[in-house]
């Protein structure tokens, strides 16, 4: 058995292959945890699950050998008052590797935009050193901080440790995130905190939704999951269009703001014709070597020119957001990229309008949705016309690439 810093590690010839190479190694992370946690315990720290990381090394080595997972599903969600945020997990080798027989994860609601102080991060570390495996994911794909692996009896104490972190650890309290048929933890791009393209305050919107819908986030009662993601502009850095049922994409209506002097500066280093004019999808731009002109009636606000010339071009001043509905992964009826539900909501009305719409959508979906039917699939089944009634919107040609190509229209109002 290899011994590092006085700590014995299991033999893991296959995993050791993944310590090689320049990219940072997750195997090293697991080994480091095994070593440091044991050292910390020997130094007198309170640690409930010493050996969990070691156990994970053993299970994972076997998975690599057998080319299959060794985890079984558990359905436990035993944090008092909540119905989500914990993913139950058991190992199918409990007699061989009892250290990870229970290996549940806890999802922690991250701060909007994934901004942290080191004090906040250390809180997570201190709590998870004591009550869990010491292994984390920064972050899970929905955006939560993932605490990877603890036992059933430590779930509640761990949640309490995080909730009372200010008193118990001198840290920053954290709440648990969503899982199951609930509102999943909303997420946002860094927006106005660092990015000049942001057409609305993504962090504020994300925080507002999270706080207003704590009940929906923690107590799953819907047909399936529901995700909200906020991107400040059509670049969509959180992939909201593809990854959320309700995507809020910042945009603008008026003219792109141009600083001609700055364009001329750029022209000294790049070929404006090649990099900008030719790449505009609507051929809305012209450049005569002195002045850049944009035909804003043709511009579809795709962001390309602004991305290339950030010093010279800015989104317009009449800002707001487009709402896209229905984005989801392929399971079951095929993948969906969200489509336009509302072409434009002005920035100052955005949060309230979204809340009105969200509540109406949830009520409808909760009533009509089948088990495991995402909102997008329900709209496929019921039709856009019904959905538009639910959200109280008129049809807009901006909702489609083209009108329908068949005349089989359901004239419901004539055939009541």
């Amino acid at each position: 058995m290899p011994v590092v810093d006085g700590v014995e590690l299991p033999e893991t010839p296959l995993l050791d292959e993944l310590e090689k190479g320049p990219w940072p190694s997750f195997v090293k992370e697991i080994k480091k945890t095994a070593i440091e946690q044991e050292k910390a315990m020997k130094a007198g720290k309170k640690i409930k699950l010493p050996g969990a990381a070691k156990g994970l090394l053993k299970v994972l080595e076997l998975a690599y050998k057998d080319k299959r997972t060794h985890w079984k599903h558990g359905g436990i969600v035993s944090v008092i008052g909540y119905g989500g945020g914990v993913i139950g997990r058991y190992c199918d080798l409990e007699d061989q590797i009892p250290e990870v027989w229970h290996f549940h994860t806890i999802r922690i609601n991250m701060p909007a935009g994934w901004f942290y102080t080191t004090k906040a991060l250390r809180t997570i570390c201190d709590v998870w050193e004591k009550w869990g495996s010491g292994l984390t994911n920064f972050h899970g794909s929905t955006g939560d901080i993932i605490l990877l692996g603890t036992r059933t009896e430590y779930l509640q104490p761990c949640a309490n440790a995080l909730a009372y972190a200010d008193q118990l650890y001198g840290g920053v309290p954290f709440d648990i995130g969503g899982s199951g048929s609930d509102l999943r933890t909303p997420s946002a791009c860094m927006g106005p905190a660092l990015c000049e393209f942001a057409c609305y305050d993504t962090l504020k919107a994300c925080y507002e939704f999270t706080m207003r819908y704590q009940n929906e986030l923690h107590r799953p009662m819907w047909p399936y999951k529901f995700k909200i993601k906020c991107s400040g502009c059509p670049n969509d850095c959180v992939a909201a269009k593809a990854r959320s049922d309700f995507a809020i994409i910042g945009t603008w209506k008026d003219e792109i703001q141009i600083d001609q002097e700055a364009v001329r500066e750029y022209a000294k280093v790049i070929d404006i014709e090649e990099h900008v004019v030719k790449k505009c999808p609507t051929k809305a731009i012209s450049w005569d070597g002195k002045e850049l002109k944009i035909n804003n009636r043709e511009c579809i606000r795709c962001m390309h020119c602004i991305n290339v010339l950030p010093k010279a071009l800015k989104p317009g001043k009449e800002r707001g957001a487009t709402i896209l509905i229905g984005g989801k992964a392929p399971f079951v009826d095929g993948a969906i990229i969200g489509w336009v539900a509302v072409p434009f909501i002005p920035e100052n009305e955005l949060i309230e309008k979204c809340c009105e719409m969200l509540e109406a959508i949830w009520e409808w979906w909760d009533e009509e949705g089948k088990f495991r039917e995402r909102v997008g699939e329900l709209i496929w089944r019921k039709g856009m016309d019904e959905f538009l009634k639910v959200i109280n919107q008129k049809a807009d040609v901006r909702m489609v690439y083209a009108p329908r190509n068949n005349p089989f229209i359901f004239w419901r109002e004539l055939n009541e």
Binding site: G74, V77, G84, Y90, S181, D182, D366, F371
Partner: protein
Amino acid sequence: MTEEINKEELKQKILEHLAKKPWQVRDLAKVLRVKKKELDKIVQELIAEGKAAYWSSGSTTYVTTKEKLEEMEKKRSGT
């Protein structure tokens, strides 16, 4: 008054169903012929009272009784 009694009866009925298998609230609402919203509330109460509990597949959530949950988890954990 009568409403209270009905509610207690309903709670009893719900628990009987939940003891058989984990349920989606919507399906249970259909079986018991109650509005889903009402059932949501009552189920929340049962959960708060510690009689019912959530069970999650990771992607979807079910409700069952506390005992049933413990029994299921025992089976899954493999001993």
